[in-house]
């Protein structure tokens, strides 16, 4: 098991390194159109061939991975922070605040996410740069994706509130804010960490889903979402299996995150 986890960590490290160094590794700018060679097969010039507009597929995969792999953790961090604030306080304070927070969580969980995201995206200004568009997409995912984590964190905070050491601290006259920041939050860290790691693949896939609907990251900036749109055309993919690379990489990265997360979850429990 340790060896598999090690492989996962190494794979993630290599992938992150490659995408962070995309400016040096990529053979061509991600938006450059080699119009004389649309849908080209892999070659020395184009390692993974070209897309239907003649753009180098390997370069787009690198840059697209960079977008998804950097912004998905950022969105996960945002949602975990929101969940920590709402869920942590609810579990720690209990009473009416907990009931209200859990009701808000339930309401948030019952919302049709996809339609909400579609609506919010339709309301955004049109004239925004692709990088702003992708940032907004992930920020939306982060802001809207806190609720399931919030419930878990609330449960963890409640357990801590009822624990002996907290009672002891309260009996010794420790003020509530100090108790929350010095005792409760540090003890919630394993739960927060687990929620953070599990959120990353969820947000990657959510962005991919939006991309498949054409509502994710704007052209010409690549992301896993809009790269996966190329897979809608199955007969073409069957004839050009190298076009499966984005999904192969997505599955590999998500699996590695899961392996790493499983270990952390075990530690947390």
């Amino acid at each position: 098991m340790n060896r598999i986890r090690l492989v996962a960590v190494v794979f993630l490290a290599l992938t992150f390194s490659a995408v962070l160094l995309a400016d040096f590794v990529a053979p061509a700018p991600y938006a450059k159109q080699f119009r004389e060679a649309p849908n080209a097969a892999p070659s020395a010039k184009h390692l993974l061939g070209t897309d239907d507009l003649g753009r180098d597929a390997f370069s787009r995969l690198l840059y697209g991975s960079r977008v998804s792999l950097l912004l998905a953790p950022a969105a996960a961090l945002l949602s975990t922070l929101i969940a920590a604030c709402i869920g942590g306080l609810a579990g720690y304070l209990g009473g009416w605040f907990e009931r209200a927070a859990l009701a808000a969580t339930d309401l948030s969980l019952s919302l049709p996410w996809l339609f909400l995201l579609l609506t919010v995206r339709a309301l955004l200004p049109l004239n925004i740069a692709p990088i702003a568009s992708v940032t907004i997409t992930f920020a939306l995912l982060g802001v809207l994706g806190w609720s399931s984590s919030g419930r878990v964190i609330c449960s963890g905070a409640r357990a801590i509130r009822q624990s002996d050491f907290v009672l002891q601290a309260q009996a010794l006259g420790c003020p509530p804010h100090r108790l929350f920041f010095k005792q409760v939050l540090p003890n919630l860290q394993p739960v927060l960490s687990a929620q953070f790691w599990t959120s990353i693949p969820i947000f990657i896939i959510a962005e991919a889903n939006l991309g498949v609907l054409g509502l994710g990251v704007s052209e010409p900036l690549p992301s896993w979402g809009n790269l996966l749109r190329g897979l809608e055309n199955w007969p073409e993919v069957k004839a050009s299996p190298w076009k499966l690379m984005p999904i192969v990489l997505l599955v590999a990265v998500v699996s590695c995150f899961q392996l790493v997360f499983q270990k952390r979850e075990n530690l947390a429990s």
């Binding site: 938006a31 159109q33 119009r35 649309p38 239907d52 507009l53 003649g54 579609l118 339709a122 049109l126 004239n127 925004i128 740069a129 692709p130 609907l213 054409g214 509502l215 704007s218 052209e219 010409p220 749109r229 809608e232 055309n233 199955w234 007969p235 073409e236």
Partner: protein, 559 residues
């Protein structure tokens, strides 16, 4: 007339070469009529929910499909022979001044609810059509001048319509006028077409059942249509549509995109049909609505002829045809396709990509390059967004090619895909957009039917709809020319007027035309009597004479 087509949506410009279907239809049927099998359900997809089931307001592709299948017409254009043929009108006569038309109506015709069809229904239809409050896109071609249309009912089967001024191509215009019932208790659903709407599940499907009162019979006396029902599935995704066709879950794809055509042709060659260059266009336009919520300096760009022409000049149309349409398209020169042999202005030629030329034109308006960024005379970087409908990969590819072309002259183009209702809302109501990429589906060859686009007061005058008075001199000139061509019966004169309209549109570029696509379609081998044509609806224009044979045992469309 021009309508929005969804396939992405699109504005549909209709220019059917009016032809009459009767001969072709009987010809197409003759070989098969004796063996034609009644029954069965024909299934095909529409790309969006119809915007309206009111036949007077059908201005998108899906609404037009429902309208075509459920309504009846006095005169019909045969999409194959391009000749007019009698339908509800057994005969008609246009006055020598082209100001009136007299119809002798077919007797014994019933609406789908059993109420008889009479001259009163024709009068009612015309009153409703010409009601200015309705804003029917089909009314504009009849409005050659101010004044009401007078109706004179001589007897229940004879009616004369008197127009305030001559109307060019008068009889052809009735191909777009669906007859309504004046007396039916359910006048909104009673129709004279081969089918009636039976079920509608919003966003999912529309089921049309055979109209038991339909008036046509085949040569052997068998009642038409042969089909029991038509199921229209709402399916935006063209790939899924293609997949369903391959699986035998649908029988028609009315308009096939180029790459789908090539894929299908590879393994189902007898199911695909290329009818040659179509009348459809793909184009962009800039928002020139004075009250639009966009910055004033951008409005100034969009109103500049040089700016629009420069954008047009910077776009590489040849690459669009080659890369996006796999060669199944030609660069567009203007509002008409060269396939429209009579009306197309042969002096016009598609712009050839010329970045330096575009920059020179922009320089005349004070634009200049500043470290690879184009700026206007006040220093604003030239950047704008273009909206198009999501799930239309061809348009998205066109937009990305344009993005690259414009980047070469220092312009940043932001491509935004929106779901269709949001897009329609922006271009028709809120006007909160800068540029839009859509398509026009020509459904009529005669320019009179394009009044709903080119008149400055028209609702589909998309760059600045429903102007109270023409905003520019050239729009005023187009108004004048369009009215003039619609008021004369001399086709030579009309051609001169419309040639000038095409020149103005070319020079001013309110619409920047990109390509003319070929008419590509797919028809299952289980569908008989189908004769694919260039004019819409390409595959089911003779729906009442189509019939099905059982699918092959493996459930797929065999070859």
């Amino acid at each position: 007339m021009i309508r929005r087509s969804l396939l992405p949506l699109a504005l549909l410009a209709s220019c059917w070469l009016f032809v009459s279907a009767s001969n072709a239809q009987s010809g197409a049927q003759s070989g098969a009529q004796s063996s034609a099998q009644s029954g069965g359900e024909l299934r095909f997809s529409i790309q969006s929910e119809p915007k309206s089931f009111d036949p007077m307001l059908a201005d998108d592709d899906s609404s037009e499909t429902v309208r075509y299948l459920t309504t009846g017409y006095l005169i019909r254009l045969n999409r194959q022979t391009q000749q007019l043929q009698p339908e509800m009108a057994a005969s008609w006569k246009v006055s020598s001044t082209a100001q009136s038309i007299t119809f002798e109506l077919r007797e014994g015709v019933l609406f789908s609810d059993g109420t008889p069809f009479s001259a009163e229904d024709v009068a009612f239809t015309m009153r409703r059509l010409m009601d200015p409050a309705l804003h029917s896109p089909f009314a504009d071609p009849f409005r050659s001048s101010a004044g009401d249309v007078k109706t004179e009912i001589k007897n229940p089967h004879s009616i004369t319509l008197q127009f305030p001024a001559p109307v060019a191509n008068l009889e052809q215009l009735f191909d777009g006028v669906a007859m309504l019932s004046a007396k039916s208790a359910h006048s909104d659903t009673a129709g004279l077409g081969p089918f009636v709407v039976s079920e509608h599940k919003a966003g999912s499907y529309i089921l049309l059942k055979r109209n038991l009162n339909y008036w046509k019979h085949d040569a052997a006396g068998k009642p038409l249509p042969y089909l029991d029902s038509v199921r229209l599935d709402v399916q935006q995704n063209r790939d899924l549509d293609l997949l369903r066709f391959r699986r035998g879950e649908t029988e028609l794809i009315n308009t096939l995109v180029a790459d789908s055509y090539d894929r299908l042709a590879a393994d189902m060659p007898s199911s695909v049909h290329d009818a040659g260059p179509s009348f459809d266009t793909e184009q962009i336009w800039f928002n020139q609505v004075p009250g639009a919520p966009i910055p004033d300096y951008k409005k100034a760009w969009f109103r500049s002829q040089n700016f629009r022409r420069a954008i047009s000049q910077a776009i590489n149309r040849a690459d669009m045809c080659r890369i996006v349409f796999s060669g199944h398209a030609t660069p567009a020169a203007g509002l008409l396709s060269p396939a429209n042999h009579f009306w197309f202005n042969q002096n016009l030629h598609a712009e050839v990509a010329d970045g330096p030329g575009a920059l020179k034109r922009l320089a005349a308006d004070g634009f200049h390059l500043d470290k690879d960024v184009l700026r206007d005379r006040d220093g604003h970087a030239v950047e704008f967004s273009i909206i198009t409908n999501t799930s239309n990969k061809l348009r998205e590819r066109l937009a990305v090619l344009m993005q690259d072309d414009l980047a070469k002259i220092g312009i940043r183009l932001n491509v935004v895909t929106l779901d269709f209702p949001s897009l329609i809302d922006r271009i028709s109501h809120s006007f909160d957009y800068e540029a839009c990429l859509l398509g026009l589906v020509n459904v009529d060859l005669d320019p009179s039917t394009q009044m709903n686009v080119w008149l400055s007061s028209a609702s589909n005058h998309q760059w600045n709809p429903e102007e109270k008075t023409p905003a520019t001199e050239w729009e005023a000139e187009i108004d004048k020319l369009m009215r003039a061509q619609a008021s004369t019966t001399d086709n030579k004169k009309r051609k001169e007027y419309f040639d000038r309209v095409q020149e103005i549109v070319y020079e001013q570029a309110p619409f920047i035309y990109l390509v003319n696509k070929n008419a590509l379609s797919a028809i299952s081998t289980s569908v008989h009597n189908a004769v694919p044509v260039v004019l819409r609806p390409q595959t089911y224009w003779n729906i009442d004479s189509l019939y099905l044979t059982p699918p092959d045992p493996n459930g797929r469309h065999g070859e």
